[in-house]
């Protein structure tokens, strides 16, 4: 945390209200975000308990699993989730515009432009908090290697038709969420924490209810008191008035309300099974339905407050204007969505369990680039973020006091005007340090010449580009006296690093080229993973499903 945001937190402590950390919204908020509030079963991996999902805040779809240990019920939940999420994703997949992408020609090795489709917009997924993002990844992982009866008639527990596909999409969204500045899958707490500083620590800020209480206390009173109520208030039955935003549930809820309800459901099912078609069957069926309805009502009571809180958070964020460069980052998200759409359509296998060395290195490099780009763009979009960079000596604001023409000493002299600036900031400038300013959205660079000897904050920089080809600088490319300009010591655009070898040329230091086709190299060599020795080439084999047993649960 930088000193400037620490100061904002301390101001929040004093005033009892959250303080702004940004003056614009730094993430894209879709007009029709799909909000997904999941709950998981305590102690089990990837066993969903329930979820609220939808694009309409007034009528979310409630999905529940009455007995999370029952594989059939779990599959029914996932199938229903797929039927809710996939149509939403599909709705964006066919609305495309033509775009160009440069690709390496496989024959000549030259970079060529290729006409491709780019989705006009991409579906956005919002979850309440960071564990929610992790849960999306986990759900994706648990589903994408499942096999349907159609893919493999011999599979012992076939998954419903669209479940593996949903797994691939959720995996893609979960993976994309790790790219700094991306907006495909966002956590409400991360969004709010980016834009406001509360009077509590980062750890406490992960509590969505408390965070909202600081930013927008319900009764207009003290945010601190409202946050404390959100954290600790319990009703007559010992239940939190503001249930945790999931996916984990409150232990008091699990033990006192949920466990008895599930027991009752199990009993009702047992009796129904025993009654078969006998006279008591109708009565037992009624009992089962009641038990199921009771579980649905309980889960909704836990989910609904979080659902409303996520939308309230989105309302608050929508009051901020969008940053100028957010659209640029959103375009990358659209590319990411389109790219995965194409991979699914071309019948590629699901994402491997482990990335191969080259893919992993590429992912890391692109995330580093995205991080630097995000930091630069946020500072350029937002004076409050720039203030933090100015404090750190990485940027300065200067008023132009003089512009003197000068030329480079070459055969064809080009303009290298000297600009004198007055600044109260203390940038960390060394000899010939490059500085950048934004000129019509493009960076114009200059190099630092020196401080004026008077010591009063006057410095000289020499402009070095974006002045046209002629001897005289192009119209509007020079600053004028009296202009107040923000200069940065960091670059505005990030260049990617050096090219990585192709997958087939993975060096031996990184495990060498992948051996097994259709599976990620470096994956755990499961004994069953070996390809049959008959040697007949066929369509790329499906990656192996996870091992299954009669009973999945501990």
């Amino acid at each position: 945390m930088s000193l400037i945001s620490t100061l904002a937190r301390l101001e929040a402590v004093e005033s009892g209200r959250a303080q702004p950390l940004a003056t614009v919204c730094h993430r894209r908020l879709s007009d029709r975000p799909l909000v997904f509030v999941p709950l998981t079963t305590a102690g089990e991996a990837g066993a969903p308990l329930g979820a609220l999902v939808g694009t309409d805040r007034g009528s979310p779809r409630l999905l529940t699993v009455a007995q999370p240990r029952d594989r059939d019920l779990r599959f029914a939940f996932l199938a229903e989730l797929a039927e809710t999420l996939l149509p939403h994703l599909d709705a964006y997949a066919d609305d495309v515009e033509p775009a160009e992408r440069s690709e390496t020609d496989p024959e000549t090795g030259k970079r060529v432009k290729v006409e491709v489709e780019l989705c006009v917009d991409a579906p956005q997924l919002i979850v309440p908090n960071r564990p929610g993002v992790d849960f999306v990844r986990l759900l994706g992982r648990s589903m994408r290697f499942r096999r349907t009866a159609e893919q493999d008639p011999d599979t012992p527990y076939p998954a419903p038709a669209r479940v593996p596909l949903l797994g691939r999409w959720l995996t893609h969204y979960g993976e994309r969420a790790r790219v700094p500045g991306s907006s495909l899958l966002l956590a409400a707490t991360d969004l709010l924490n980016r834009h406001w500083a509360t009077g509590q620590s980062n750890l406490e800020d992960q509590h969505l209810g408390a965070l909202l209480a600081w930013i927008d206390p319900p009764d207009g009173g003290s945010g601190r008191d409202a946050a404390l109520r959100a954290e600790t208030d319990r009703d007559g039955r010992g239940q939190l008035r503001c249930p945790p935003a999931g996916p984990a549930t409150d232990p008091a809820f699990d033990n006192r309300l949920l466990a008895p309800a599930i027991d009752e459901y199990d009993r009702a099912r047992q009796f129904l099974g025993a009654a078969e078609d006998g006279p008591g069957a109708d009565e037992q069926l009624g009992r089962l339905t009641r038990a199921e309805r009771e579980i649905r009502a309980l889960l909704e009571s836990q989910l609904r407050p979080t659902w409303d809180a996520v939308w309230r958070g989105l309302d608050l964020l929508r009051e901020l204007p969008e940053g100028a460069r957010v659209a640029d980052r959103w375009t990358r998200d659209r590319w990411s969505f389109t790219g995965h759409r194409d991979r699914v359509r071309s019948g590629e296998p699901p994402q491997p369990r482990h990335d191969d060395a080259v893919t992993a290195a590429q992912k890391l490099a692109s995330r580093e680039t995205a991080q630097q780009q995000l930091e630069a763009q946020e500072a350029l979009d937002d004076p409050l973020v720039l203030a933090g960079r100015r404090l750190a000596g990485e940027a300065f604001i200067g008023e132009v006091t003089e512009v003197v023409m000068a030329y480079s000493e070459s055969k064809r002299p080009s303009p290298r005007p000297l600009v004198t600036l007055y600044s109260e900031d203390t940038p960390q400038l060394g000899e010939r340090t490059k500085v950048y300013r934004s000129l019509d959205g493009k960076p114009q660079s200059a190099e630092f010449v020196g401080w004026e000897p008077d010591g009063g904050g006057t410095l000289v920089v020499r402009l070095t580009d974006r002045m046209g080809r002629g001897r005289e600088p192009a119209e509007g490319s020079l600053p004028e006296k009296g202009d107040v300009i923000a200069w940065t010591l960091f670059e505005h655009d990030q260049r990617g690093g050096p090219k990585l070898p192709s997958t087939e040329e993975t060096p031996w230091t990184h495990g060498g080229p992948p051996a097994v086709e259709g599976r990620g190299p470096g994956a755990v060599p499961l004994p069953e993973a070996r390809t049959p020795a008959d040697g007949t080439p066929s369509a790329p084999p499906l990656p192996l499903p996870d091992p299954v047993t009669e009973d999945d649960f501990l």
């Binding site: 945390m1 000193l3 400037i4 620490t6 100061l7 904002a8 937190r9 301390l10 101001e11 402590v13 004093e14 209200r17 959250a18 303080q19 702004p20 003056t23 102690g43 089990e44 991996a45 990837g46 986990l138 992982r141 648990s142 834009h195 406001w196 009077g199 509590q200 620590s201 980062n202 750890l203 406490e204 930013i215 927008d216 601190r224 954290e231 600790t232 608050l316 964020l317 009051e319 901020l320 204007p321 369990r353 482990h354 004076p383 409050l384 720039l386 203030a387 933090g388 100015r390 404090l391 994956a523 755990v524 996870d546 091992p547 299954v548 047993t549 009973d551 999945d552 649960f553 501990l554």
Partner: protein, 313 residues
Amino acid sequence: MRGNAFEARVKADGGTELMRLLHERMGAGSPPPVPGEVLVPDLSAAGPEGRVARTALALREATGADGSPGLWTLLVHPLVALDVAGSPAYLEPDAVVVGPDGRWTVVEIKSFPMIDSSADPAKVGAAARQAAVYVLALERIAARTTGARVDHSVLLVCPRDFSNLPTASVVDVRKQLSVTRRQLTRLTRIEDLAAELPEGTSFDLERCSQAELTAAVDSVTAAYAPECLAACELAFHCRGRARSAGAVEALGRGVRGELGGLTTVGAVLAAARGESAPGTADDDPTVVALRRAAALRAEALRSLPEGAVAGCR
């Protein structure tokens, strides 16, 4: 409950599956354990001291100091003792395996899943710290046993992916060992802690009234940090005290480090506003930086049109 069910599954059949995993991951160079021939000594005895003595005896026998042929031995729920701040603490590892070469290995069985050979780092870290304490306790017994040595790697057994089948991973706990060792030697002895308290202080939940308990808790100083919230039931109490004292630590340990000699919210904000705080010089680097930060922040917020910042109406 769930964890116990998984542990029982792993140790079923005289630990066949557990021994297979152990040999596969750590048993390089030693003969594989033969199912049914692994010794599983009975460790039951009366009272903790009795169980500790029984465990030590079983360990010595298994190590084969008397020249018996080195077999694999699995000790289920042994009990070992460790001296913590002057009083003995009894520890019960899930299992300890003695190999044919006299090597003792701690086995920790956890119910969180290992998905694609990786698990939640926070949970693995906690398991490693826990296992390191067992290693430390075992080392005391090993020091008195010829031919014994305690492995500084432990075997972590978890459910694999989304199933209940066990898988295992070797965790190197040398770092956790040295940290724990250092912390144990630095711990203040319990008698010294008790001597600091006012005469007659009691934390007995049964016998004290609420007022007495509150007074007793208040008589103890607390170094609150937000991390306490995840670990301690008194954290909300300490947080309330830290907040009402205006301590900057309530916002995080890192915040405290950034603010130099200024320790309260009031002092920091006063310094930022340009008031001279008692005990801090005006040219203190922290004060200078704070004032600069406050000026820059105010300037950036001033540039906004009135009411443009949502949520702070």
